[in-house]
């Protein structure tokens, strides 16, 4: 069965509740069995919850019925519900299983920073959020793709379980069993303590911290072994978020939530690097793609922590300003909005810098089809990585977004936030390769945003104003990236730019990569999304060299190359028309992967209120099966008959054996009468 179950994720102590969980927790170790019931409408819920005579039920519902009210009704009747299976079909008009105020405790707006702005008092960013991802369920919740096996399940239900005119159901009934036992319990502190108490040579971990790698690239790279403050260096950080999540973690798509942002930044990086080959600038630019931001800013909190503790190549004093690209693809007009932090702007220097940045941004849209508008001064920042930097220091910065107050994204952090949500439509008669090249309207609008961002960064970094209009993002790159990240990853462009060595990056499946940050592995393996972004950024901003493969692995031996400043990646390359071998080459790039695991795990503080403490439970296997179940009466009858047979035979045998002399005595054998 191609089903997926969510992994339990357990978090840190929350202010209002002492612990909180994500999705299912207490699934039984021997599986949960229930009679299948296909839910047809909300009124039909009466049957499994109260009227049905054969609890517990395994409820199968389509995505349009996967709402908070139905799930909460089933949660309240947990004794009668053995599990829920969701079959994703059409998108509802809006659905967001995230909370209404994302990351409210780890952003900058705490009670001490500004009482009025904390806990989304002024602006509720995600008003459609129903918090379903953060509910604790006593039964497993699975998602099954709509294919032949789902049809088999529905057919079994229609054959055996369908109620006709209120008449009684005939046993045997069709039932389903779900296995998704999660090893971890309670909260992060408990499960990490349990894992650490195992002193055997191969300790059994029951939960793993979430994390991954941030992708970072300086325009002018520094020596990567020299950490700490750099004298006279001023850096502008251009940031975007990589990850997103959904109720079913492996189904996360994050088109508007994360892809729109980082694709724009990648295109801006390409535009800027093409233009800045010649002129050195006063300030350096850092392109930072943070991972794990959905789970309380894992990536950005790590970078700030590293900067504060001299574990990164620059520190917070070197940071001049920050420009972050948030959700930018779903516009409600022609404007994009510039969000800034009102509290830090009370300081005049910060205010002046922010005003300067806004001026640069607004002048960059000359000749483009949109404009930047500042939001209301009293409104706080939306959830963004920039907030973590502000928590450490009052740095001037702006967050770009397509929403003025609350999100335009109706499917924030849900599995409906996909290509269709961004209106990525291709004419039907195109082959996959032609679709890759087709420039959609979404791509065109994101290209313009990328152009504006690139020009702004150029001006922020002190570039010559006369050169600015030569900076333009490439719409072909943008549309190819959107296609690769949202429709099909296994396309020729990604294969050309990709690595042949990393098997996790083999992209054998055509589906888009998983946007969920995943577990921080102890080996130096990142997930597919990280490698894709790394190799894309390397190809778009680096230079191709003539090095051979062995030289690419050890470039220090060559006079002009240095692994302190650059990293060297072996790229697959194209297949020339007359041969079958790929022409691979070595790219010299300033892109680096920086570890992004929450500082709480390094500090051993599993109840930290400062940093993210999200962990993911381990599990053995996830599977489901269907079969028929017999009525309880038949089972009891079998047992009764068995016991009766046993007693009867004991009695009869006792009787016969005591009377054996008499019963078997008619044939007298004179010599041997021993019995």
């Amino acid at each position: 069965m191609t089903g997926r179950g969510p992994g339990t994720i357990i978090g840190f102590p929350h202010k209002r509740t002492s612990i909180f969980f994500l999705s299912c927790v207490s699934a039984s170790i021997s599986g949960d069995t229930g009679v299948i019931h296909v839910l047809e409408s909300e009124a039909d819920l009466e049957w499994p919850l109260s009227k049905g005579p054969n609890p517990p039920y395994m409820v199968l519902l389509e995505s349009s019925l996967f709402t908070k009210s139905i799930m909460m009704k089933m949660k309240n009747a947990s004794s009668r519900v053995a599990g829920v299976v969701v079959v994703p079909k059409t998108s509802p008009p809006e659905f967001s299983p995230h909370t209404t105020c994302p990351n409210e405790n780890t952003g900058v707006y705490t009670e001490t920073y500004d009482h009025n702005l904390a806990h989304c008092n002024t602006t509720v960013w995600n008003p459609r959020g129903n918090g379903l991802s953060y509910e604790e369920f006593d039964f497993p919740v699975f998602s099954l793709k709509e294919d032949n096996e789902t049809e088999v399940i529905k057919q079994c239900y229609f054959d055996h379980n369908r109620v006709v005119n209120g008449s009684g159901l005939q046993y045997p009934l069709c039932a389903m069993q779900l296995f998704s036992h999660m090893h971890a319990v309670t909260d992060t502190a408990t499960c990490m303590r349990r894992s650490s108490m195992d002193f055997s040579t191969s300790p059994v971990m029951v939960c793993d911290p979430l994390g991954g790698y941030n992708v970072c690239a300086f325009i002018r790279p520094y020596n990567s072994t020299a950490f700490g403050h750099k004298e006279n260096e001023s850096v502008v950080i251009a940031a975007a978020r990589l990850d997103s999540k959904a109720f079913f973690l492996e189904d996360s798509t994050g088109a508007e939530g994360s892809v729109s942002g980082f694709v724009t930044l990648l295109a801006a990086a390409q535009a800027l690097c093409e233009a800045t080959q010649e002129a050195p600038r006063t300030r350096n630019i850092l392109f930072a793609f943070f991972h794990g931001e959905v789970f309380d800013y894992i990536g950005s909190s790590r970078m700030v922590y590293d900067m504060k503790n001299n574990m990164f190549v620059i520190d917070l004093d070197n940071v001049h300003s920050i420009l972050e690209i948030g959700q930018v693809a779903v516009r409600s007009g022609t404007n994009l909005f510039l969000h800034s932090d009102p509290v830090s702007r009370r300081n005049n220097t910060v205010h002046d810098e922010v005003t300067n940045l806004v001026k640069n941004l607004q002048s960059s849209t000359a000749g483009l089809n949109f404009s930047f508008v500042e939001t209301d001064f009293s409104q706080p920042l939306p959830p963004s990585s920039f907030q973590r930097f502000l928590r450490a220091r009052a740095i001037p910065g702006i967050v770009l977004a397509d929403h003025q107050t609350d999100f335009n994204n109706r499917y924030y952090e849900s599995f409906y936030d996909n290509a269709a949500h961004l209106n990525l439509t291709y004419p039907s008669n195109l082959s996959p390769e032609e679709q890759l090249e087709f420039v959609t309207d979404t791509a065109k609008s994101l290209t313009e945003v990328a152009t504006a961002v690139a020009r702004t960064l150029f001006k922020q970094a002190g570039g010559n104003n006369s050169q600015v209009n030569k900076i333009n993002a490439d719409p072909k790159t943008v549309t190819q990236m959107l296609y690769g990240f949202l429709v099909r990853s296994n396309n020729s462009w990604f294969q050309v730019l990709g690595s042949s060595l990393r098997c996790v990056f083999c992209l054998s499946e055509p589906n888009p990569p998983q946007y969920y940050v995943g577990v921080a592995k102890s080996s130096h393996q990142a997930n597919a999304l990280t490698y894709l972004v790394q190799y894309l950024l390397a190809n778009l901003t680096g230079t191709a060299t003539n090095l051979t493969q062995s030289q690419c692995k050890k470039p220090d031996e060559l006079p002009n190359e240095s692994t302190y400043l650059y990293s060297y990646l072996w790229v697959q390359g194209m297949v020339p028309p007359n041969s079958t071998q790929r022409e691979s080459f070595c790219v010299r790039t300033a892109v680096r992967l920086v570890k992004a695991v929450s500082p709480a795990f390094d500090l051993g503080d599993y109840v930290s209120k400062e940093y993210s403490t999200w962990t993911k439970s381990q599990w053995k296997f996830i599977k489901a099966r269907i079969f028929l179940v017999a009525s309880r009466d038949l089972e009891m009858l079998t047992l009764g008959v068995g016991v009766a047979v046993l007693f009867t035979s004991l009695l009869v045998t006792y009787f016969v054996s005591t009377k054996a002399d008499v019963l078997f005595s008619s044939v007298r054998e004179p010599n041997n009468a021993a019995y």
């Binding site: 045997p172 019963l663 078997f664």
Partner: protein, 258 residues
């Protein structure tokens, strides 16, 4: 299905056998040994017949279902014949062993009579045959589901348990009749035993019409049981005496030195 079905089917299938073992065999170590030896002989016959089965299946055409069905019938018939052959072999062995035991023992009489050996060996055959028939089915019955998702009858577990009980009882009765016939050189009754064994095995080809196979089988159990009862020294008079509780008077009146 669940634990209740597991225990129910176990008790149905092995109830009589357990009762017989507890009350008649468990106290006498010699009987236990001969029981186990009997089980072992049945196992030998199974090994031989499964070897032949395995080879013929490998060289046959796996696609043709009629050939596979024919092969199944052939396998069943061969297995029955091999079981009876092993029973005969066991009989011969026991005869030889009895003479040896008599020579070794200090007493004048044999510690165990041929009739008791017949009963014990039959029960041994029955135990082993029942185990091989039933254990896999019992293991599957512990799970939460039951048969039927592909349209089969859900009474599979119950009918297998009843069939196994019948087979165990039958093996015991056949043992008694077989040894008795061999003692008295009544070869025709030996043939009847073999034929009834073949008949019962071939009745199972009627499954999944469980009624069609179980009812005739139980009729045969009853008939062979009666026959074994008469062979081993029972009579209607004795039965009536026991049932009306006049047996004590009978014993006192007909007391013989043992």
């Amino acid at each position: 299905m669940t634990a209740s079905v597991f225990f129910g089917c176990t008790f149905i299938a092995f109830g009589p056998a357990i009762a017989l073992f507890l009350f008649t065999i468990a106290r006498d170590p010699l009987r236990v040994i001969f029981l186990i030896a009997g089980a072992f002989f049945w196992l030998c016959s199974l090994l031989l017949s499964s070897l032949v089965w395995f080879i013929t299946v490998q060289i046959s055409n796996k696609e043709s279902s009629s050939q596979q069905k024919g092969l199944l019938i052939f396998g069943v018939v061969l297995s029955v014949l091999l079981q009876e052959t092993c029973r005969f072999g066991y009989y011969k062995l026991l005869k030889k062993a009895n003479e040896g035991l008599l020579m070794l023992s200090a007493e004048e009489t044999m510690p165990i009579s041929i009739r008791q050996l017949a009963y014990v060996s039959g029960l041994g055959f029955g135990f082993m045959s029942g185990a091989f028939s039933m254990v896999n089915i019992l293991a599957d019955s512990v799970g939460p589901g039951t048969i039927g998702i592909h349209g089969d009858s859900q009474h599979y577990f119950l009918s297998s348990a009843f069939m196994t009980m019948a087979i165990i009882l039958l093996h015991m009765f056949w043992g008694v009749v077989f040894f008795d016939s061999c003692e008295k050189q009544h070869w025709w009754s030996l043939a009847v035993v073999v034929i009834s064994h073949l008949l019962v095995s071939c009745l199972t080809f009627q499954n999944p019409q469980y009624v069609g196979s179980l009812v005739p089988t139980y009729i045969i159990v009853f008939l062979v049981g009666l026959w074994a009862f008469f062979c081993s020294g029972g009579s209607l008079r004795n039965l009536k005496l026991c049932l009306t509780c006049k047996d004590k008077d009978f014993l006192l009146a007909n007391h013989r030195p043992r």
